[in-house]
């Protein structure tokens, strides 16, 4: 593809649509110049999908903005960004006048942002957004709207309904797709996507990724796809560029980069990314932290964290070294990187190895009395109603609808599912923060709410139950009081539950815990305020706060989602290590199957899959990952990207992208509206959880008629999109409330 240029090691494109040379984006700050993009050069080939991967704070968003000279003030972009239109003069984007820029933006180079929900003016309809864009660029409005309709229906939505909606009436996934349609309305040549799916559920992410392929071909686009999630782009991008510390450290064709990465950072990043295949005991996170943009290390910016760094690395900033073809890495010792940082996936060929560790332990371990037992738990939320609307139908949202779940001593259960499936509600119900509207929650045989209300014989007082069931929230930043020091935050639970301790004892205990979770020196940390801690450190404080009072069960609600990829594995390891020490059980909530797999496999736990308030499948990780029985689990499995260039998303194993309205769930099996295997019987009957076929009891249970040996299902007609008006993605009328929600 590229003619090797002996003078320059950077891979050049034959027919670049954009060339970036020595791009620097700088912010003047009180403590010096902050360079968030540092002397970056890259070519973007016409018609390719370039994946740009980097952790948060690596400068990737600034790079994206520079491509259309949209760096937010007071940042200043310097260097050259040359855009080559299909015909006509090439332009230097950073030198354009205001009028020229207006023509370039959106007509030639368009951008899709991360927060689609906040990218629309809340008081204008979607149609207005399209119309104003068209008229601002003097395009024909009626032709343009025709194109908009086509784009919207290509993205599996009903054009008329979407166009007449206000932004708040769209779900997150829909507004992201509408934003993609809006970015393509003027038929641009280059589309820059800045974390376009980061705020979305796994299934929606994957669905959008698989739609992108088609869109790119149909509209002949070049795409720059920026993400922190390496597996996500693995199946999509033609080439991947890895950013670290404000510059590109490695660049190459996707398959080469994934299988044969030459930069130690890329290799370490690959090793730290939880996925479904790599052996868990070999995954590890990268030590240290990304550098501060004001104070970039001299020489190679990765040297403080690199295992093979030497004098040269500390002094000489490496130029791109040509690995081969158009694969280049900014590392002096790229040839030795493979040895220094061996890939965890390498020795992993026989599938047996993976299951081996987990099968040592058996379900018998989960015998005896459960710590927590939920029996037919229901949580219904009444929709907004007041004294005056007594007569209207109570429109309950069935957040949790009839779930049985037992958690045992030192057990780990991970609940996975799309947002709105009720996993957080179930979690809160489990630890007694949410009163169930039906069913029983028992802590060691004591009904939690009876203890609370002082009803019946109480064996365990509510105080003790409250102390035993704790929670860690998703966002540590908002879970800690910003005005209190670490010491004050951690002393509060001790004072409440251990009044016999005096100030010194408390301090000693807190210091001990800080040291235990690796925050050393603890004397330094104890007097800090939360804003003086990093995200990972804040999460540790939240964890200590929960552990200090010796709980039996901790609910960890997306406890690692807010952390950087490279820190997640470390945090999960810490959680499990503490489990051994403190004999705690965990109930995790996650939307990410790869994280769920990592933690359950390591702790011999179970994964429970939830869909619209129901538990559709539960079982050991290797069963859920390798042989999912429920079609919804299969869809989740499909949606979890692999670190594999050949990982083709393939056919979407769902008939519909969007999740139905939880206030009005489908009858029968709730998944039947999206299930590719659905038959007539699924419309009317609700399947119960049954032991999966061919398994020892206790390993895997699924709620699907296909697990029933003898059921009406096998004789009934399949539901297809043609005869099921309710399940067609596009073209739904306002009357069919359950479709296209």
């Amino acid at each position: 593809m590229t003619a090797a240029d002996p003078d320059r090691s950077m891979p050049r494109a034959d027919d670049p649509i954009a060339e970036v040379r020595n791009l620097t984006v700088a912010f003047e700050m009180d403590r010096g110049q902050s360079r968030v993009v540092d002397d970056l050069s890259v070519d973007i080939e016409r018609g390719e999908i370039l994946g740009v991967v980097g952790e948060s704070g690596s400068g990737k968003s600034m790079f994206a903005s520079s491509l259309m000279d949209a760096v937010v003030e007071p940042g200043v972009a310097s260097g050259d960004v040359t855009y080559h239109p299909p015909s006509g003069e090439s332009v230097d984007v950073l030198e354009l006048s205001k009028g020229e820029l207006q023509e370039l933006r959106w007509e030639e180079v368009a951008m899709v942002f991360q927060g689609a929900m906040s990218s629309f003016n809340p008081v204008r309809t979607i149609r207005d957004h399209f119309v104003e864009t068209l008229s601002a660029h003097d395009y024909n409005v009626s032709d343009g709207l025709e194109r908009a309709r086509e784009l919207i229906s290509d993205l599996y939505m009903d054009p008329e309904r979407v166009l007449s909606s206000y932004p708040h009436e769209l779900s997150g996934g829909m507004s992201q797709r509408v934003l993609i349609a809006l970015s393509l309305i003027l038929d641009p040549e280059l589309l820059v996507m800045d974390e376009p799916t980061a705020a979305l559920d796994l299934l929606m992410q994957r669905s959008i990724i698989s739609l992108l392929d088609g869109i790119q071909e149909k509209h002949d686009l070049s795409i720059v796809f920026i993400t922190h999630d390496l597996p996500l782009v693995a199946g999509l991008a033609d080439r991947i560029a890895v950013m670290y510390a404000f510059e590109m450290v490695e660049m190459g064709p996707t398959d080469e980069l994934l299988t044969d990465a030459a930069h130690p950072y890329t290799r370490a990043l690959l090793n730290s990314t939880p996925n479904l295949r790599a052996p868990i005991d070999r995954m590890r996170s990268i030590d240290g932290e990304s550098p501060d943009p004001v104070n970039i290390p001299s020489g190679c910016s990765y040297h403080p964290r690199c295992p093979m760094a030497d004098e040269q690395c500390r002094e000489v900033d490496p130029e791109p070294y040509r690995v081969d073809g158009d694969h280049a890495a900014n590392c002096h010792y790229w040839e030795e990187a493979a040895e220094a940082v061996p890939a965890v996936t390498e020795e992993f060929d026989d599938a047996g190895e993976m299951g081996a560790a987990a099968t040592e332990r058996t379900p018998e371990r989960r015998s005896g009395e459960p710590v927590l037992s939920m029996d037919d738990v229901e949580v219904y939320f009444e929709q907004e109603s007041s004294a005056f609307s007594l007569f209207s139908d109570p429109d309950d949202v069935k957040a949790v609808d009839g779930i049985d779940l037992d958690v045992y001593d030192e057990d780990v259960v991970v609940l996975v599912g799309e947002s709105g499936c009720g996993k957080t509600t179930l979690g809160k119900t489990a630890i007694g923060l949410q009163r169930p509207t039906g069913g029983v929650v028992e802590y060691r045989g004591q009904d939690v709410w009876q203890a609370r209300d002082l009803v019946g014989d109480i064996d365990i007082p509510y105080e003790e139950i409250r102390q035993s069931l704790q929670i860690i929230h998703q966002d540590p930043g908002s879970a800690l009081n910003t005005h209190r020091r670490v010491r004050a935050v951690l002393e509060t639970p001790l004072k409440r539950w251990y009044p016999e301790l005096d100030g010194n004892d408390r301090r000693e205990r807190i210091l001990g815990m800080l040291e235990y979770v690796g925050m050393t020196p603890p004397e330094d940390y104890i007097d800090r305020y939360p804003f003086q801690l990093s995200g990972g450190e804040m999460q540790r404080i939240a964890l200590i706060r929960a552990l200090l009072i010796n709980p039996e069960l901790i609910l960890a609600d997306e406890a690692v989602s807010a952390l950087d990829v490279s820190l997640r594995v470390e945090m999960m390891d810490l959680l499990l290590e503490l489990q051994d020490t403190f004999d705690t059980s965990y109930l995790f909530i996650s939307h990410n199957l790869a994280n769920a797999r990592y933690i359950t496999e390591k702790a011999d736990g179970r994964i429970g899959v939830m869909y619209l308030g129901e538990l559709v499948e539960i079982g050991s990780p290797e069963r859920i990952i390798n042989d999912p029985k429920h079609p919804y689990t299969q869809a989740l499995r499909w949606a979890t990207p692999e670190l594999d260039p050949d990982d083709d998303p393939g056919e979407r194993p769902m008939r519909k992208i969007d999740i139905p309205d939880a206030a009005n769930p489908p009858s029968g099996c709730r998944y039947h509206t999206r299930c590719p295997e659905a038959r007539e019987a699924c419309r009317h009957q609700r399947p119960e959880l049954v032991e999966a076929e061919g398994e020892e009891p206790g390993y895997q249970q699924a709620a699907c008629f296909r697990e029933y040996e003898d059921h009406e299902y096998w004789d009934s007609e399949p539901i297809t999109d043609e005869d099921d008006a309710d399940s067609v993605d596009s073209g739904t009328g306002p009357g069919t409330a359950e479709a296209d929600d």
């Binding site: 949209a70 906040s118 809340p122 008081v123 104003e132 601002a136 779900s171």
Partner: protein, 343 residues
Amino acid sequence: MDWRVERLTQGLLTVFLVITLSFVIIRFMPGNPMDYILAQMSGDATGATSGEGGASGSDMEQQYELVQAYLSMNPSDPLHVAYFDYMSNTLRGDLGQSIYYSRPVSDILGRAMPWTLFVLSWGLAIGFVLGIITGSLIAYWEGSKLDVGLTAYSVIMGSIPYYVLALLLIVYMAYRWQIFPTNGRVPEGVTAGLNWPFIKGIIYHASLPIASTVVFSGIASLSMRGNAIRVLGEDYLRVARLRGLSDGVIATQYVARNAILPLYTGLMISIGSLFGGSVILETIFRYRGMGYYLVQAANARDYPLMMGGFMLLTICVVIALFITDLTYGLIDPRAGDENREAF
């Protein structure tokens, strides 16, 4: 049920409760209006017929009838009858008779009401337009000298009580420089009607009261500044700029519309405090509106007029908030029709 009906019912319930409360006050409070009038009557009666030992039965009857005329309530009726009479009279618009003016209360307040509304609505409208304009200017030039200057002006305006400004205005504009009249609401010697001299006179007389309420622009511009700066930082504004929308569209449809939304609620809520403020304002300018009569009534212990005035003020605030509820959906689709089908 339709939420509009719901809000209307809530409003009506509030009005009903306020009327009931005034009934309770008149009837049961120690030293209540009824006792007061009775005492005055009997005082008068004993004064007139000195020598006789207290009021006779027929005198009592007469006094009760007088009380009935003033307060729409006969003290000799049993409670439920009195309550029913009072409610039905009040709802028919009969608020009793003013003692001081010897005219029906509804008549006095009905004539005063439009003047108060006139001054208040203009004061409010001008104040908010001014506030929004200065607020947007400050937000756009955030950090500049203009920002510092206008913000200082807004803070000063916002912290001056309106009656202090009113006093300053009347001292300088009316007495010292004699640009504006010191009191009254209509020009003298001009035939009332739709003719220019008369209308001009009305505006002329209302200028100073309206000018004093403009202090509300200070608060409005400060919150407008905050809102606009917040909107300027929103993602959708950045996307709009990248989409190449013209500055005009961005300023009006993006920044202004979204920044004004929170102000609108504030505007309607401040109507309540403004009505209260009219009491002082109209006294200073001797502007015969609702507030003026309220003060007069309080000074003269004219209970019927006072009760009527308070009741009317409450109703005005309830109506203003009801209108806010109805119209908010028009400017913010998110607060709009709850029945609209969302995805």
